[in-house]
Amino acid sequence: MTTVSRNRVLGATAFVLGAGAVVAGDPRASGARHDEFVSAVSVAEWLRERQPLQLIDVRSADSFNEFHVPRAMHVPLVELSGFQPDPAATVVVYGAESRISWRAKRILEKTGHRRVLVLDGGVRAWLFEIISPTVSRHASGAEREAFDRVAELSRYFGGVPRVIDGSDDRSAASTSSMLEATRRRSCAF
């Protein structure tokens, strides 16, 4: 096959795949596994409503002692295979971030436990979305309305919602400073 004809075949393939995309729809919907993740806001709502929930923190003992989501129990990743979750409760696992929690979810499911949910974003999501949620001063009405609901939840858990200028300045707010502020206010749980 000559170079020219090979290029034409590749070009035609790209054209067909591109044209197919027009009718194939949004690719994000097919691969997404939304039903296996739960947001920090949903977990906070469930906790506030006292729903049957078993929260499992798979981080190190030091990290757990420093800070954990209210009502969470500490089960290190290495001990998870021998752990028996409460069959009557919704089980939510979390680590420092989503991918650690996913490993925990797989271990729990291998032990024969029914569906296990993963706290989306791990403990950092709890800190950023519940303990220290922010909204831009220039946010739209709908965004402010959504933020007000989160802010109410945040205060319930001892958090401090903030209105910030322009872009999100989360990078400036260190996890340790958030933890310190949370400790000073003492948590509701």
């Binding site: 795949l17 995309a21 194939a24 949004d26 690719p27 929690s101």
Partner: protein, 193 residues
Amino acid sequence: MNTPLFEYGFLSHNAGLIAALVIGLGFGFFLERGGLGNATKLAGQFYLKDLTVLKVLFTAILTAMLGLYWLGRFGVVDLTRVYQLPTFVLPQLAGGLIFGVGFVMGGLCPGTSCVSMSSGRMDGLALVGGMLFGVLVFNEIFPVVSIFYNSTAIGEVTIPQLIGVPHGLAVFAIVIAALGSFVLAERLERSPR
């Protein structure tokens, strides 16, 4: 299937670093084989004599875009979990300008300068040295430029979100733009000077 593998915990932190090294080596190898370690060849695009860079990069964009689109569509890749670089309009425009000036002056971009250095070229070595010096200077002056650095943030936006068109239509438009640019590039390269 659970992909991205790293995001779903199938790759540990260390395995992720090893995977990045392997992919980086492969990327560098094929850039070099494509002739992109040669500053003269790269600079040729600015004089419309040699448009290899345009063709290579647009091919890479097409391959990645169509691959991710269809893998996402068939449920193999969870696109909501693929990291997207947040957009900061003005700082990234300024960065692009500095990048472009450096590219024209040196004939190499950061990736190709590493490729050039690895294949023993002294200009590649000089540019990698300059790049590291630039990184050092940027770190030192970061407190001064941090306000600008974080300004005009519009979040993790994609082209379809930004212009308000369906995902598939944006994919098709980029395919047409790429194919059109390939044809134009070939004509320009063949045209008499």
